[in-house]
């Protein structure tokens, strides 16, 4: 009952979605639309899972008086202020928008911009042409980095003589375009095929109850 009914429910919902794909007519379309409407509403409450883990972590830090607890207080204050302003004044209210634009956006954008420094440092320290494969990767990376910014075509068109420019007006861009559209695309397509077949296999296993990790442990 506790395990079997959810597994049967999972199978039936999945089966209906598959049947609707092949028979897009009533009554399957009506059931399909109802399932989607219900799934959208149910998924609203998944926020609970993420929220509870975060609250538990920071509450534990405060309760145990760890050295990090002042920062956990900052987390709760930020959460409370933003949520309160948003819920009371509305998400298109001036105050909520002000907080979002001047607090959340700059911090999130800046956190990820730190990666620019680290990628340069990592490229300097680790990117070595040790083997043929690494050399291929290095050459492809350098071609793309040079060709896909304005300086690539700028230098080509100012350094090359007219005869060469008549043959190829923008060779760096042509080479980069070929890399993206032919060998790189072929490899990415193979990865996409493999990942998709894996995803289909996993979905089938979930529907058939072979993969049950979402049910958690216990009876």
């Amino acid at each position: 009952m506790k395990l079997r009914v959810p597994l049967i429910l999972c199978f039936l919902c999945g089966l209906l979605m598959i049947v609707q794909f092949f028979i897009p007519h009533p009554p399957f379309t009506n059931m399909y639309e109802k399932l989607l409407d219900w799934a959208i509403i149910i998924s609203i409450f998944t926020i609970v899972i993420g929220l509870s883990s975060l609250i538990k972590l920071h509450y534990t830090r405060i309760a145990r008086k760890t050295p990090e607890r002042p920062y956990s207080v900052v987390v709760f204050v930020g959460m409370a202020v933003m949520a309160t302003v948003g819920i009371i004044n509305g998400v298109n209210g001036k105050e909520f928008e002000w907080l979002f634009k001047n607090v959340q956006v700059p911090m999130q954008a800046t956190m990820f911009s730190l990666l620019a420094f680290f990628i340069a440092s990592a490229a300097y320290r680790a990117f070595r042409a040790r083997t043929l494969e690494a050399t291929l990767m290095l050459v492809a990376a350098i071609v793309v980095m040079f060709a896909r910014v304005p300086i690539g075509s700028f230098l080509w068109q100012h350094i090359m003589p007219d005869s060469v420019l008549q043959w190829r007006e923008n060779l760096p861009e042509d080479v980069a375009g070929w890399i993206f559209n032919v060998p790189s695309m072929a490899a990415r397509r193979a990865i996409l095929l493999g990942v998709s077949l894996g995803a289909v296999a996993t979905s089938l296993k979930i529907m058939l109850g072979i993969e049950r990790s979402y049910t958690g442990s216990g009876e």
Binding site: T29, E33, L36, D37, A39, I40, S43, I44, T46, I47, G90, V91, N92, F96, E97, F100, K101, Q104, V105, P106, Q108, A109, M111, F112, S113, A116, F117, A120, S121, A123, Y124, R125, F127, R128, A129, R130, L138, A141, I142, M145, F146, R148, V149, P150, I151, G152, S153, F154, N170, E173, G177, F180, N181, S184, M185, R188, R189, L192
Partner: protein, 278 residues
């Protein structure tokens, strides 16, 4: 000489950080103005929207967060600018909750004085559900979004009177920081036979070329460079164009750093081999 090369190879990474910062800041202060050349992938999106009849509607999904702002926000504004200037109606929405407030900001900024909410554009906001939302909108947009972002019933927007589902949408443009373009391709493009255009971060762009090849997407605007190309095509100088000089110089710096690092690696390796022989 060998000691010098060893020092160069083990330089404190904070010197590299300073160099990167300088290569970004200096071209912003003293622009060079290198011209941006358009690629076929970006031109395809521009040409498609350019050929749409006036009064058509496009759906723009702004599936990104503030982390990707520098790359995707300029292309969002450029696409809106293009649509509004051609009197094409825009239905905006997002599958990412962090995109909800950003989408509102983008639509308002792009609309300015040239487009009116409810008549030229509507912003639907965010609903949880990804794939479920995409599929449900294919049958009935108002089933997922009974009101717009501000809470106004969709039925009260004059623009939405003629737009029920994807059949009334000429093009879906997904501007994304994640993997949502694949969802739009599978659950909207192929399912409802709709043309999809993709704008994305440079990190993700490489992965969408297979869809470009199969024509499952009609065009691709990749990264800040793609945004700069689109800005050039719509004749507006935005933040992407302003950043292209810095982009170029920073790339040259990183290429030089990689070359220097590899030269030092090969010199040190040769020295070790000679020492072993001796």
């Amino acid at each position: 000489m060998a000691d010098f090369i060893k020092k160069i190879a083990n330089i404190d990474r904070r010197y590299i950080f300073i160099l990167i910062a300088l290569t970004v800041i200096i071209p912003l202060l003293f622009p060079i103005g290198m011209p941006v050349t358009e690629t076929k992938e970006v031109m395809a999106v521009y040409d498609y929207i350019e050929k749409l009849p006036q009064g058509s509607a496009i759906l723009v999904a702004m599936d990104y967060d503030p982390a990707a702002l520098a790359e995707v926000y300029p292309m969002t504004l450029a696409v809106f600018h293009h649509a509004f200037s051609r009197k094409i109606k825009v239905v905006g929405m997002t599958l990412w909750n962090t995109g909800a407030a950003l989408g509102e900001l983008a639509m308002r900024e792009a609309a300015g004085d040239i487009a009116r909410v409810g008549e030229d554009y509507v912003y639907l906001g965010y609903v949880v559900g990804d794939v479920n939302v995409i599929m449900r909108m294919g049958e009935d947009i108002s089933a997922v979004y009974p009101t717009d972002y501000g809470g106004k019933p969709l039925a009260e927007s004059p623009m939405m009177k003629g737009i029920k589902n994807y059949k009334d949408i000429a093009l879906i443009v997904d501007i994304a920081a994640g993997a949502t373009p694949e969802l739009w391709v599978a659950y909207a493009g192929d399912m409802f036979k709709k043309d999809i255009a993709v704008g994305c971060t440079a990190v993700s762009a490489v992965g969408y070329y297979p869809f470009l090849n199969t024509k499952q997407i009609i065009g691709l605007i990749g990264g800040m460079k793609g945004a700069a190309e689109y800005e050039k095509l719509v004749k507006s100088r935005g933040t992407a164009t302003a950043g292209m000089d810095s982009q170029s110089i920073a790339h040259i710096l990183i290429i030089l750093l990689i070359i220097i690092a590899n030269i030092s690696y090969f010199v040190m390796r040769r020295k070790d081999k000679l020492l072993k022989k001796a």
